[in-house]
């Protein structure tokens, strides 16, 4: 008997129509189980960020519903630390040091001062920034800022990590380093990660499954199981195959849009 895996996130035929009449997401039906690393891959305007924001309770579905741990996302955000969000830019408070930035979630959640600091230092160690805890964000490079941002998300020990194109603004070398580190953290902390990207290589390198979305209206066009062991080799033949498959399905979804 195989144990039924825990469903972490469920989209039940979700549609999102903005007041302007733009259909950002149409009949999106998808679910994520515990421990997965899912990427939403798609062109800009395909509603992948919209879907992600709903999981964080930052937006409502026009039709259908989104459930996180079987609950309304807004309730989950309100009552627990189980969901964390990493924005596209590091989004750090410029007047706070690295340590103070990472302590922010714990502070807002009202944990006590001493454990707050210990926890923050622990996650900063995890992302390799222990020597920079007293620096201010402006003194750091783009890659380091993103690490702080990830550390801040990890500080409250979330079960589900949502990431909205976090590495899009970084240079290729920094991006690859951070991707590798992210996978290590994912393995060690046994989290579930939902990752939004428009980069095919990134999606294949990171994900257990890739959900390809098409644009205007945004909907699920295909799901790709990436059946490759970690750590993955970017030069590996099968890696390239998966990149081709993903690119193709991305292209198909785009051409279909253009034909319509």
């Amino acid at each position: 008997m195989e144990a039924i895996q825990n469903e972490i996130v469920a989209f039940h035929h979700v549609s999102k129509i903005y007041n302007t009449g733009t259909v950002a997401l149409s009949q999106f039906h998808f679910s994520i189980t515990e421990g997965e690393f899912i990427s939403f891959l798609g062109p800009s305007g395909c509603g992948k960020s919209t879907a992600l924001r709903m999981v964080a309770g930052l937006g409502d579905a026009t039709e259908g519903k989104v459930e996180v741990f079987g609950q309304n996302p807004k309730e989950v955000i309100k009552n627990t630390n189980d969901v964390a969000f990493v924005f596209q830019d590091a989004n750090l408070l410029p007047w706070r040091t690295v340590l103070e930035n990472v302590m922010l979630p714990l502070e807002l959640r009202g944990s006590d001062k001493k454990s707050r600091k210990e926890d923050a230092i622990k996650v900063l160690e995890m992302v390799g920034l222990k020597d920079h805890i007293k620096s201010y964000p402006r003194q750091l490079s783009g890659g380091m800022r993103m690490r702080v941002s990830i550390a801040r998300a990890l500080a409250a020990k979330p079960k589900l990590l949502l990431m909205d194109e976090p590495f899009a603004a970084l240079d290729e070398i920094t991006r690859q380093t951070l991707q590798t580190e992210l996978l290590e953290i994912w393995k060690r902390e046994k989290m579930t990660i939902l990752f939004v990207t428009h980069n095919v290589f990134e999606a294949v390198y990171l994900s257990t499954r890739i959900a390809v979305l098409s644009a205007r209206p945004g909907r699920l066009s295909s799901i790709i199981d990436v059946d490759l062991p970690y750590p993955r080799e970017r030069t590996d033949e099968r890696f390239t195959e998966y990149v081709d498959i993903s690119s193709q399905s991305l292209e198909n979804s785009s051409t279909r849009r253009e034909l319509v």
Binding site: A84, W95, L108
Partner: protein, 286 residues
């Protein structure tokens, strides 16, 4: 080996260029100091000698030496006048800072409150305070209290409007970050909106620091001395009536020096407050 020599060479070159860099910076900044001083000397000498050559009377245009002489002779009158004006301006400024920031935070804490009250704050700002000053005198009596009140009224609006603008200019992503961690309204206010508004607040304070002096002197024109000793504004009106033009100039220059010093002090305070993060405060460092 060759790599090593290359690095030592680079180091030397870097060190050399650092030295020459320092020299260049010094010769540049030297001119930054000498230039304005030279211009001032030229200006003062023209001011000194042109009236002599043209034969202008001191009560029309006094020479710098006349002004200096008047300041020294009437120092016993000038010094208390300066002290009074300083007190009025500083108290007016502090009150406008406290009430301005407090009021802005209150308005920003409730959208309904802001929408209903802020338009009136803007309209009130357009009223020339000089026009309503006599009412202030009726309410608070002539003298110190009225003058402080007028100084406050003039300095108040730049602080409230700048602070409010800052409190509302918070980055959307940061605001969402706080929402994600279930931050309460006041947590958002203290930990996000007020720190984010700091540069705006400081701009407001800088503007008000000079305005509060304008307010104090204008107040003295209107509200007079009220029994006690008068400030610079009062001294200026008296000097004008008595045609003591050199003393009038001395009062004006004293007010200007106070204005500059006060502005610099507020700027210093602002620099100190924003030291840890704001870009514009950091420029001076390099």
């Amino acid at each position: 080996m060759s790599v090593q020599t290359a690095t030592t060479q680079t180091k030397e070159i870097v060190a050399q260029s650092n030295n020459t860099g320092k020299l260049k910076i010094w010769s540049k900044s030297k001119w930054k100091i000498i230039g304005p001083i030279a211009a001032l000397v030229v200006f003062l000498s023209l001011w000194q000698f042109v009236p002599i050559m043209v034969g202008v009377q001191p009560f029309i245009l006094p020479k710098p030496t006349d002004v200096l002489q008047a300041a020294v002779e009437d120092w016993e009158l000038l010094w208390p006048a300066i002290q009074i004006t300083v007190a009025e301006s500083v108290i007016g400024f502090v009150i406008s800072a406290i009430i301005g920031i407090g009021f802005a935070v209150l308005l920003a804490s409730s959208k309904i409150l802001e929408i209903s009250i802020y338009p009136y704050a803007v309209i009130l700002q357009t009223i020339p305070v000089v026009a309503v000053a006599p009412i202030v005198v009726i309410w608070f009596g002539s003298g110190f209290n009225s003058i402080v009140m007028i100084s406050f009224l003039i300095g108040f609006f730049p602080i409230i409007s700048n602070t409010l603008m800052g409190l509302n200019s918070v980055d959307k992503n940061m605001s969402e970050l706080f929402t994600l961690y279930n931050a309460s309204k006041w947590q958002k206010m203290w930990k996000l909106r007020i720190p984010a508004a700091m540069p705006y607040m400081m701009t407001g304070l800088k503007i008000s620091s000079t305005l509060s002096i304008v307010g104090a002197i204008t107040g003295e024109y209107i509200a007079g001395i009220g029994g006690g000793k008068g400030g610079l504004g009062y001294a200026i009106t008296v000097a004008a009536v008595q045609l003591k033009t050199p003393y009038l100039f001395a009062c004006g220059i004293a007010a200007a020096i106070f204005g500059i010093v006060f502005y610099l002090l507020v700027s210093l305070f602002s620099h100190f407050m924003l030291r840890s993060w704001h870009e514009s405060a950091m420029k001076g460092e390099k």
